[in-house]
């Protein structure tokens, strides 16, 4: 039995310690906002925060995260009012939506570490998150809007 802290809640899960976190989130705990894309850390759809860092949950073994804090897209904000979520809605960013949870989780780390990112900063931060619908330009605009909202306190 492994105890995991996910979105500020403790879960005891009976899984093989080698199981990637993504499978535990989706199949064991039913937290399906985090998506399976490639299974080898190549696409970013499975991005979650582990102690504040944007890790790829498809290659993160649960044995390595005991005692650490995991945040998924479901736990990014209590009322879905993170500046990024507001900006995403405002600019109607998603098309199919499959990659968007991972996109937002990566962008959240960028905005925490850089309150006023340039386009280059955004590209450097988001280059590991692939969108097959090609919503990259809206994603970049939404991150700029979110940065502005964040600076204004909201």
């Amino acid at each position: 039995m492994i105890t995991l802290n996910i979105n500020n809640k403790n879960y005891n899960v009976d899984v093989d310690p080698e199981t990637p976190l993504l499978w535990v989130l989706r199949d064991t705990l039913g937290l399906v906002g985090t998506k399976y894309g490639c299974g080898m850390a190549q696409c970013g759809a499975c991005t979650v925060h582990l102690n504040g860092q944007a890790v790829r949950s498809c290659v993160t073994r649960v044995s390595s995260i005991a005692g650490k804090k995991v945040v998924t897209i479901e736990g990014l904000s209590e009322k879905n009012d993170h500046p990024l979520q507001k900006a995403w809605l405002e600019l109607d960013v998603p098309q199919c939506g499959y990659c968007q949870g991972g996109q937002i989780m990566s962008a959240a780390v960028l905005l925490r570490e850089n309150k006023n990112p340039t386009e280059k900063d955004i590209d450097n931060a988001m280059v590991g998150n692939i969108c097959r619908c090609g919503t990259y330009l809206r994603i970049r605009k939404a991150i700029q809007l979110a940065a502005e909202l964040q600076r204004k306190g909201g």
């Binding site: 080898m40 190549q42 860092q53 944007a54 900063d121 280059v127």
Partner: protein, 209 residues
Amino acid sequence: MKFNENYFLPLKTVTVLIILFSVIAFMSFGFKNDFTTVRGKNDLIRDSVESVKAFKDVYKVLMSPRCMNCHPAGDVPLQDDNSRLHDMFPQRGQDGKGLYAMKCSNCHQPTNMEGLNTPPGNPNWHLPPANMKMVFQGRTANQLAKQLVNPKTNGNKTLQKLIEHADDGLVKAAWDPGEGRTVPPMSHEEFKKAWITWIKFGAYAPGSK
């Protein structure tokens, strides 16, 4: 008055011999660091031939993909056996550990993952930092040897620290690269022997041609 010429013969001989020995001594001094074997400071045994010979093996390893891929000329690491730019173009960052949502450890776990094309793992995965990039890619053997022994370009390492670096965990990870990746062209044991030989015999750089 007539001088007896034979009287000065020994003097001439001695003078010639003194000049000859002086020239030999001067040349010996000049070439001491290059061609003779002497014991110097820190138990270094200076022998440029043995040192350069060992560095040939060292160079083969350092320029293999497992070593060079994390010592790129640019700010994006290299990947795979053909040393292409790393997928997704992650950036070096100031500390060599990546940027924002693209930090090395976001994908590279403490240990290798099973399966082809999964990220290789190490708890200390990183590039050299931005203020001392320690580039291997594109360096000649002469350039790389000089770079490796200079504390201003080798990560502030003394020769003793360089010797110890052969057993660094990330260095040794080159011989456990995960499925589908080639290992350096000799064993770690052979590499370490060549590395130490190169340093112990004076850490000489091969000729620049």
